[in-house]
């Protein structure tokens, strides 16, 4: 396959980028006078983020190959969310070729097609919706113009079918058209087709990576190979906050298969001939740590309590309220692990002033930058070749292991592959922070809420992240990740408060799929259910009555009605089964869920979940449904089973099983997904459906037992 990359003679910049398109605030209004702060908060809440990379040049994205396949170099990575399939659909429709003529591959940084941000935040398809279709349409016209030229006819006389042009009895494939072209004529951006005219967009096209994943092709970071490669391993402490003092490597040095022990200022690593030998040698290194820490879970819980730390009001409407008649409830969520099945790993090769890094990463550009900085290389000389991700969920927004592998490779002069053990994955995760919430509310004489307050404390999510510019936290005064889902979506309540409390934890916490959404929704929606019960109202009607009548409000009301109708929601226990309801709005996508629950042998059993969501245009409705199903199950796992704890300064447990997760037997046998389309472009999909599930299940349990479960994981 040769690469037909040519100079572009005339460029039409299809610029989309920067933070220009800050979304309109979906709910409430703010007390802040500072418009920047307000705009950034709004953006954090709606995640209406434009794609941040170069979309001016179709040649950066599309490559014609001799076999007439078009390679689509994707700067967004595929981690299960189905982005590759949606991109292929969008490209095929505007290129006017069959989707099987498109092969989506990860763009290596050497192609120059680099995402300025990350793959995450449910922004990939939404952010590329406009620019990718425009580039595909432009590319199509470029080829057409050239084809007409080569066939000696006017563009209008060309007949084009599935990547083949014909005129005057002659035929040319896309690839033949491109052959030998030195300078392309680039037209103005052609008009895009109407959505209804698309052949692939909006259809349940099978995933483009289906065969690779069913037949076991070597597509993951763990599968990466280079000739002559060795295996690395890096020593890590088991205690929180442990500081390295010294290492005795003498025993490890003479272990079988050991090639070299690498002692750097910030880590000690082993390179050996096999993964097992590297691991064994690492375990034989005697390290002295300064680990003064004897923290227990109880210490973390008392630290994470509303009232500790610094507070920021993120939502304020109406007036203050006096304490009388105020209902108050507390909720908690635990430390959560990512627990993605493919461990973090990397294969690095450093030769002279160049480095090649094969890695499953959500931050291709950042990985490159960090390796270049550490090795003092030009960024252009570091080629990051992304692989498929065996799960992302936010865990792969941090890739310091790429630096370590590169350092080890340089030290041994050969490629070095290195990955985390499962124990290291669990103890050195960048966890979902634990949270504590205090909800306060007051009903008026008609049983309507006149006051609703959400106070919550969380460890860091976005603060201190290389992905969140350092200037942001001081400006907005709140962690843009922790506050996801922390806003109250019931705009008709006259007096609203949402207050975020910031506490620093002694261990690293960060982005976990949907960020603050799951825990915040658990608190707010459990409390809404409680207030509906106290008002003696049906929880669906109670919610609907409190939602404002703007666009966001109407979309939310519609998903609430759709979920309730499709589930046949009833507020009574029938045959030992009860329904629980909850709804959330995340990144501008509203989602409502009904969970059908019973108690079996003392355990909470979820039989069916009905979910309604309005993600706007569903580029691939089947994969949107798959994301909904996956979010329900991952959310149930986090809400009902998972919990990290701290024992004598160590994060535990260190293995699946003890880190209890939802298995086949826990998954609902029915998940019914209803998709609505309340806006005419694609919105967020991969995270919003994680919001309601914890509260929906807890609210069903309340109907069965009269007990309000206020702690994740939910226990009877």
């Amino acid at each position: 396959m040769s690469k037909e990359k040519k100079k572009i003679s005339r460029r039409k910049f299809l610029v989309r980028g920067g933070l220009g398109t800050v979304g309109v605030l979906a709910i409430g209004s703010y007390i802040f006078r500072n418009p920047i702060r307000r705009a950034i908060l709004a953006m954090a809440n709606t995640m209406d983020m434009a794609y941040m990379g170069d979309t001016s040049n179709p040649m950066l994205w599309f490559e014609l190959t001799k076999d007439n396949t078009i390679l689509l170099h994707s700067p967004k990575v595929e981690m299960g969310q189905g982005t590759f399939t949606s991109l292929a659909q969008m490209a095929a429709d505007e290129l006017e070729i069959s989707i099987d003529k498109i092969a989506v591959i990860h763009a290596a940084t050497s192609t120059g097609n680099i995402d300025g941000m990350s793959t995450g935040g449910s922004t990939s398809v939404a952010g590329l919706w406009q620019p990718l279709r425009e580039m595909a349409a432009t590319f199509r016209e470029m080829i057409k113009t050239e084809a007409a030229h080569k066939l000696g006819v006017a563009v209008s006389a060309l007949v084009s079918e599935n990547g083949i042009f014909s005129a005057n009895g002659k035929r040319l494939s896309y690839a033949e058209v491109a052959d030998g072209v030195a300078t392309w004529e680039v037209p103005d951006v052609p008009a895009l087709k109407e959505i209804k005219d698309y052949k692939y967009i909006g259809k349940p096209v099978p995933r483009v990576d289906l065969a690779a994943k069913v037949f076991g092709h070597p597509i993951f970071g763990m599968d990466a190979e280079m000739s002559d490669m060795l295996y690395g391993s890096v020593v890590r402490p088991t205690k929180i906050g442990a500081r390295f003092i010294s290492a005795d490597v003498s025993k490890a040095q003479s272990m079988p298969g050991v090639v070299k022990i690498i002692e750097e200022d910030d880590f000690v690593g082993v390179v050996a001939n096999s993964a097992t030998e590297a691991e064994n040698a690492k375990n034989a290194i005697l390290v002295e740590w300064d680990a003064p820490n004897h923290l227990q879970t109880a210490d973390i819980i008392s630290l994470m309590t509303v009232g500790n730390g610094k507070s920021t009001i993120i939502q304020k409407e109406g007036s203050e309220v006096t304490d009388d008649g105020l209902v108050t409830m507390e909720f908690r969520s635990p430390i959560g692990a990512h627990a993605q099945i493919e461990p973090n790993g990397v294969l690095a090769s450093v030769v002279g002033d160049k480095a090649t890094i094969k890695i499953a990463t959500q931050v291709i550009g950042l990985t490159r930058k960090e390796v270049a900085e550490r090795l003092d290389l030009d960024e252009e000389n570091v080629n990051v070749i992304p692989t498929y991700l065996g799960g992302g969920f936010g865990r792969r927004l941090h890739t310091p292991h790429a630096i370590q592998a590169a350092v080890m490779s340089k030290a041994v002069g050969k490629p070095v592959k290195y990955f985390f053990s499962r124990k290291e994955e669990f103890q050195h995760d960048m966890f979902r922070p634990p949270t504590h919430h205090v909800m306060k509310g007051k009903l008026d004489t008609d049983g309507m809420l006149e006051h609703l307050e959400h106070h919550f404390v969380s460890g860091d999510v976005g603060n201190d992240s290389a992905l969140v510019p350092g200037i942001l936290p001081p400006i907005i005064g709140a962690d843009i990740g922790a506050i996801r889902g922390g806003f109250i979506q019931y705009g008709k309540v006259p007096n609203l408060r949402s207050v975020y409390w910031h506490v620093e934890l002694p261990f690293a916490t960060s982005f976990w799929r949907s960020l603050g959404l799951l825990a915040n929704t658990f608190a707010i929606e459990s409390f809404m259910d409680e207030m509906a019960v106290r008002a003696k109202k049906n929880p669906i009607d109670f919610r609907l009555a409190h939602i404002q009548d703007d666009v966001a409000g109407e979309r939310l009301k519609n998903v609430i009605r759709a979920a309730a109708d499709n589930a046949g929601y009833v507020d009574t226990v029938i045959n030992g089964k009860a329904m629980g309801f909850a709804a959330s709005t995340d990144a501008n996508t509203p989602c409502a869920q009904v969970a059908e629950v019973s108690i079996e042998e003392g355990e909470i059993k979820v039989h069916k979940v009905t979910l309604a969501m309005d993600p706007g245009v569903a580029v691939n409705p089947d994969q949107v449904k798959a994301q909904c199903e996956g979010c329900v199950i991952m959310g149930m796992s986090a809400a009902m089973h998972e919990q990290m704890y701290v024992e004598d300064g160590e994060l535990m447990p260190i293995i699946y099983g003890p880190y209890n997760m939802a298995l086949m037997k826990h998954a609902p046998k029915e998940i019914d997904v209803v998709l609505l389309q309340g806006i005419d472009k694609p919105g967020a999909v991969g995270e919003p459906p994680l919001g309601p599930i914890a509260a929906a299940v807890a609210n069903a349990v309340f109907r069965l037992t009269g007990k309000r479960l206020n702690e994740m994981p939910l226990r009877l």
């Binding site: 289906l210 298995l663 086949m664």
Partner: protein
């Protein structure tokens, strides 16, 4: 130590310093057959599930020396695009995978289950399929397992008719 076995029907002989090296690493790193995945190394996730003499085995915790003389099968030996195993066919029809990393292990575990129990009930599935999928594809997997059972049965009926 020298160990000989059949990997997907092909006879292989490897030399390994330590016979207790997990078979997973022999398959992945020595024989370079990468479909079988590493997830935990402690028999706790099922990502490394293979067939040893037709039985589902978690290869991360299976010492290579025990493979001597045995028939070892991995996802690559189960079927291919031209001739998919009914479990793979069902997985394609139901569009099961998301990230895909856990899938070879589940597919191998399911194929072993169906070989013993051609028409498993939901309860049988719950009891026998204990791998972990972080993307939460269990809902589609269950549908795919029932579908695979159907496909296997109709294939068997056809074979019988031919006989």
């Amino acid at each position: 130590m020298k160990i000989s076995f059949f990997l997907n029907g092909i006879s292989e002989t490897i030399v390994v310093a330590d016979g207790n090296t997990p078979l997973l690493w022999i398959i992945r790193d020595v024989l370079n057959v990468k479909g079988t995945k590493f997830g935990c190394g402690k028999a706790a996730c099922g990502a490394c599930t293979i067939h040893v003499e037709g039985e589902a085995v978690r290869s991360c915790s299976y010492p290579a020396k025990f493979a001597e003389g045995k028939q070892i099968n991995t996802i690559e030996g189960l079927g291919n695009e031209e001739n998919p195993h009914p479990v793979q066919q069902a997985w394609i029809e139901e569009i099961v995978p998301q990230c895909g990393y856990c899938q070879p292990g589940f597919i191998m575990a399911t194929a072993a289950l169906l070989a013993k129990n051609p028409n498993p009930t939901d309860e049988d599935i719950d009891q026998n399929i204990s791998n972990v999928c972080r993307c939460g594809t269990y809902f589609r997997m269950r549908k795919a397992i029932h579908r695979a059972a159907e496909l296997t049965q109709s294939a068997n009926t056809k074979t019988e008719e031919n006989v």
